[in-house]
Amino acid sequence: MIVDSYRFLPRSFRPLYEGRGAFPGEDAPVWAPFEKRLAYARIALLTSAGIYLKGSHPSFDVDREQAQPDWGDPTWRSIPATTQPQDIAIAHLHINDEDLLADPEIALPMHLLADLAREGVVGGAAANHVSAMGYQDRRLEDWRSTTAPQIAAHVREQGADALILAPA
């Protein structure tokens, strides 16, 4: 079964994504081998659904995006794996957030991952996962220069062996 990559995308958006090839300078294969058994590996999660913690995080900056529609907030948030749904807020202007607020696991399945760790399917889960907001300016300059290295350092600090990324 082959997934239809454009099933839920408005038809007028399709040319923005399809047939554009690699990002400039990002054509060569990159590969970090996954060397452990899953049962001994610690896994981290990343969502780009614009999730943040109501009580302790600033929102992703949607006001600036309203004023400057080609721009998207390039920062990221660390999300404790014990976070409860009622503590989560969403700042993402490109999706309906009702389902995400009802069940954040659809974007960041941190409680499910904790279950798999308890069952021994994976060795463990990161104590803190990662949240970003996926709408970004086309050049991705801040993500490349700042956000990606910070996230890689964070994943390493968590002792995680790998990262599962889920775009919103």
Binding site: S5, P29, P167, A168
Partner: protein, 111 residues
């Protein structure tokens, strides 16, 4: 997002991207890809459907740990249980995003 995965992979951390647009992730050269035919905002499945979410996450883990080569893509064979028209409408924001509003205004001013 596929490009972000590349940068993190290049820093030595294995990655897998779970995405509703796997063809785009392939074009952008993500190292490992799981395709899902789910609406945007729902990478792991339906709200509160733990079985569907688990099938998605377990496939992501299998591809993460088991892929032997760069560019490996495996699609999840799960059908979205909501009729297309309804699901298509449901994922979209109630108010058009700033960039969509800008595009619509540009189109209107041309016509």
């Amino acid at each position: 997002m596929p490009v972000l995965a590349r940068w993190i992979e290049a820093a030595g951390i294995p990655t897998v991207v779970v995405t509703m647009m796997p063809a785009v992730a392939e074009e952008r050269r993500a190292p490992r890809i799981v395709g899902v035919e789910f609406p945007f905002g729902h990478a792991f499945g339906m709200p509160l459907d733990r079985r569907m979410q688990r099938r998605t996450l377990e496939l992501a883990l299998r591809v993460l740990a088991g892929a032997r080569a760069f560019g490996t893509r495996v699609d999840l064979d799960v059908e979205w249980p909501v009729p297309l028209r309804e699901a298509y409408r449901a994922w979209q924001p109630k108010v058009p995003s700033p960039i969509v509003r800008k595009m619509l205004e540009a189109r209107q001013s041309q016509s």
